[in-house]
Amino acid sequence: MTETAFFDALLVVTMIGLAIWMIVVRDVFAAIVGFMAFGLLLSLGWLRIEAPDVGLTEIAVGGGATGVMLLRARGLARAGDAMNSVPSVPFRILVGVLAGAVALFLGALVVFPPAVAPTLAPLAAEHLASTGVGNPITAVLMAYRAFDTFLETVVVLLALIGVWSLTPDGAWGARPRVASADVPAPLLLLAQWLVPLGIVIGIYITWVGADEPGGKFQGATILAAMWMLVMMAGLRPAPALSSRRLRIALVVGPAIFIAIGVSGFHFAGAFLAYPDGLAKPLILAIEAGLLISIAAMLGMLLAGPPLEGDRP
């Protein structure tokens, strides 16, 4: 008991220390690497509050993928040196006080919770059997609140369209440039050995997500990371934005989702309702499609748009 309390305290202190360091350290690269380390620690924290599914998502998406994304743009901090005006001391004190007030208010909410903690867990448990899946979070994502998950995938797709629409005119339709001119040999070796394993792990995490912690978002992020590794090592170039196969991969998941959702009107009386007994196979079909699409979306988001000078 005391060991776990000690561990919790150590973890929390390290996380807060890293967060402060991230804000004050001058070197942007150091701050981003700090953020990735912070993501790893935070996912341990998620395990400690009984949320392994969130922990997996945090470690893959929150820390890992976001960190890689920020690294892609780290050079811009130097390019943007003009935006370097240091705020005056009174202003910094004012902001410090206000930010502290927000933190204190949130802290007070945490320390003095309502007498009866609100929960939907009993409701989620009650109908779990009818969905055919054993992981209540998958049931929430794919059955109870499937509409939210559907909109979420569309949001990710919209973000990708937004990123693509920032392509310079001349480069439209080109391949994003991911591989550097000369690929270090260790990276090449890593891409050749890790990728097959990573693909198996990504698919496994998606499959096992029906009953255990895991799911398509976590699995898709691993697949996207493997794809990124292949592109970075120059084993395969990134697909051109105009590639038809890429675009089909991007929309196949949402398309299956919509098709099953609309057929729900006919077979089960509501949008995204599943007929009795067919919930599990339909959920698996949607998840398989979404795995491909989300992996493609995340991979292309990580690759970014083609830059000026790229020609289709």
Binding site: I23, A77, V163
Partner: protein, 126 residues
């Protein structure tokens, strides 16, 4: 979970609250766009953690936590990633546009492109 009990969840909740404060501080004060994005992600991490603690306190029916907020946090993390991707790309474009034009947006002189350190940008001069 009534009154001011102090348990593991409370500790992590306070950690989340502190992260929000630290992130807000950096978000407002740091002039560099990329670091604002970083700080914004810190605020997000804090908010998610506080929400996760609410989920933990809603533990019932044999689950370690209320699955509904947990699922919402998973959705939130993925959406935050998408927003970060869009923000990073916007900053990237803003920076290259300002460098090309050599004026508006960023008043002071900007180092040559070759020094930006972003792979593939070195030969991007038009």
């Amino acid at each position: 979970m009534t009154g001011a009990t102090f348990d593991t969840a409370t500790l992590y909740g306070l950690c989340g609250a502190a992260l929000v404060g630290i992130g807000l501080f950096g978000l407002v004060l740091d002039p560099k766009p990329i670091r604002k994005i970083l700080a914004f992600n810190l605020v997000g991490a804090g908010v998610f953690l506080v929400f996760g603690v609410i989920a933990r306190r809603g533990a019932a029916a044999g689950f370690g936590g209320d699955p509904v907020p947990q699922a919402l946090v998973i959705t939130g993390i993925v959406v935050a990633f998408s927003a970060t991707a869009l923000a990073v790309t916007l900053v990237q474009r803003l920076s290259s546009a300002a460098t090309d034009a050599g004026q508006p947006g960023q008043a002071a002189p900007v180092p040559p492109k070759g020094e930006t350190g972003t792979p593939g940008q070195g030969d991007a001069a038009s």
